[in-house]
Amino acid sequence: MFIYEKKLQFPVKIATPNPKLASYIISQYGGPDGELGASMRYLSQRYAMPFAQAKGLLTDIGTEELSHLEMVASIVHQLTRDLTDEQVKANPGFAAYFVDHTAGVYPTAASGFPWTAASIQSTGDALADLTEDMAAEQKARKTYDNILRLSDDPDVNNVIRFLREREIVHYQRFGECLRNVQEKLDQKNVYLYNPSFDKNRMAKG
C-alpha cells in the first residue's frame, strides 16, 4: 500500500509565475518520457520480477518517481498561480492548454498529446524490462536537459537540476540490477529462458 506524506522530496518555491515555461514543463508530468510514465512503468513491471533485488529496486525507484510527479506538478501549479486574463492572452503557447484545463494540472505532453500507456512497456521479461528502464532514465534526463535550455528561472532550474541528477543515479542502479539478474542466469546463454516466466525450467537448470 501507499501512505501519503505531506511534504515534497525537494523544495519547490517559484517566486515568479511564468505560464509559457509551465507549458514546457508539463511534459515531464504527462509526456512520453515523464514522471507519470516512469512511476507506472516501474510499479507495473515489478510484479514479473523473478528476484528480490529487482522487486525491491523497482518498488523503491517507482515510489520515488511518484514524488517526482508531485514536484513537477508543484512547479506547474506555482508557475500558473494568480494568472490574469491578460497574462493568458499574452502567452499563446499556454492559451492552448488553458482553454481545456484553465490552471489545473493535467497529464499531457508539451506537444498537447495526453498521457498514454502506449509510451511505456511491461514486458513480463526481466532483461527486456530493465533494459527499457535504463533507456527511460536517459530519455527523461534528455528532457530535463532541454528544459534547462529553455528556462532562465533559477527557482525552476534548481528543481530541474535535482530531477535530472536523479535520472543519472537511477540509470546506475538499473544497470547494476541488470547485471545482478544476468549473473543469476546461464552464463553460456543468458537468453536460454525468460527468468520471469520459465521459472520451473530455471530451477531444473
Binding site: 501512505i3 501519503y4 506524506e5 505531506k6 511534504k7 515534497l8 522530496q9 525537494f10 523544495p11 519547490v12 518555491k13 517559484i14 533485488q53 525491491g56 529496486l57 523503491d60 525507484i61 520515488e64 506538478a73 508543484s74 501549479h77 506555482q78 498561480r81 532483461l127 533494459t131 535504463m134 530535463y144 536537459d145 534547462l148 535550455r149 533559477p154 532550474n157 534548481n158 528543481v159 530541474i160 537540476r161 535535482f162 530531477l163 535530472r164 541528477e165 536523479r166 543519472i168 543515479v169 537511477h170 540509470y171 546506475q172 542502479r173 538499473f174 544497470g175 547494476e176 540490477c177 541488470l178 547485471r179 545482478n180 544476468q182 552464463q187 553460456k188 546463454n189 543468458v190 537468453y191
Partner: protein
C-alpha cells in the same frame, strides 16, 4: 560482486568495476565501488545525489542549488540520504558500512521529523490523532508556494 576483475586495486572514485570477461550481447554498467566518498545531507539534497562520483551536471545547470536550512529542509535532506542509501543497498545489499549508515540516518530522520511536526503540523495523517483537533487539513499543502517558505 564488485571486484570481478580479480584485483584488489581500487579504481578511481568516478569509475566502477567491470568483469574481465563477460557474456556477449548483454549490457554492462560498471558497479559502483564500496566505500565511495559521500556528501553531507545538505549537499546531497542540493546536488541530487549522495555520491560525488555520480554528480554529473549538464553544462547549463546552475551549480548546486539552495535548500532552506529550516527544520523542513533538514528533514528533506535526511530523507533524501536514506533514499540514496536504500537504492545503493538494493544493488549492494552486502555492504555493511552502508547499512550501518542507513541505521544511523534513520535515527537522525526520526528526530528531524519530530521537529517539523512540532510546529508544522502532521506529515502523516495518523499523526493528527496526537493534536487536540483535526489538523491534517491545515494549509499550506506541499505544492503551495507558502509551504516552502523558510520556517
Amino acid at each position: 560482486m564488485n571486484m570481478e576483475n580479480g584485483s584488489t586495486d581500487r579504481c578511481p572514485d568516478r569509475c566502477g568495476t567491470l568483469p574481465s570477461c563477460a557474456p556477449l550481447a548483454t549490457g554492462y554498467v560498471p558497479f559502483q565501488q564500496v566505500g565511495s566518498p559521500r556528501y553531507g545531507q545538505r549537499d546531497a539534497l542540493s546536488n541530487g545525489t549522495l555520491f560525488p562520483a555520480l554528480n554529473l551536471p549538464f553544462h547549463l545547470a546552475i551549480p548546486g542549488s539552495k535548500v532552506s536550512d529550516g527544520p523542513l529542509g533538514e528533514l528533506q535532506a535526511l530523507c533524501f540520504v536514506l533514499q540514496e542509501l536504500a537504492l545503493y543497498l538494493d544493488t549492494h545489499p552486502e555492504d555493511a558500512e552502508a547499512f550501518a549508515l542507513f541505521k544511523q540516518y534513520t535515527a537522525m530522520e526520526k528526530t528531524a521529523r519530530e521537529n517539523v511536526e512540532k510546529n508544522g503540523g502532521p506529515l502523516l495523517r495518523e499523526q493528527a490523532a496526537n493534536d487536540s483537533k483535526y489538523t491534517w487539513l491545515n494549509d499550506p499543502w506541499p505544492w503551495n508556494f507558502e509551504h516552502n517558505e523558510v520556517k
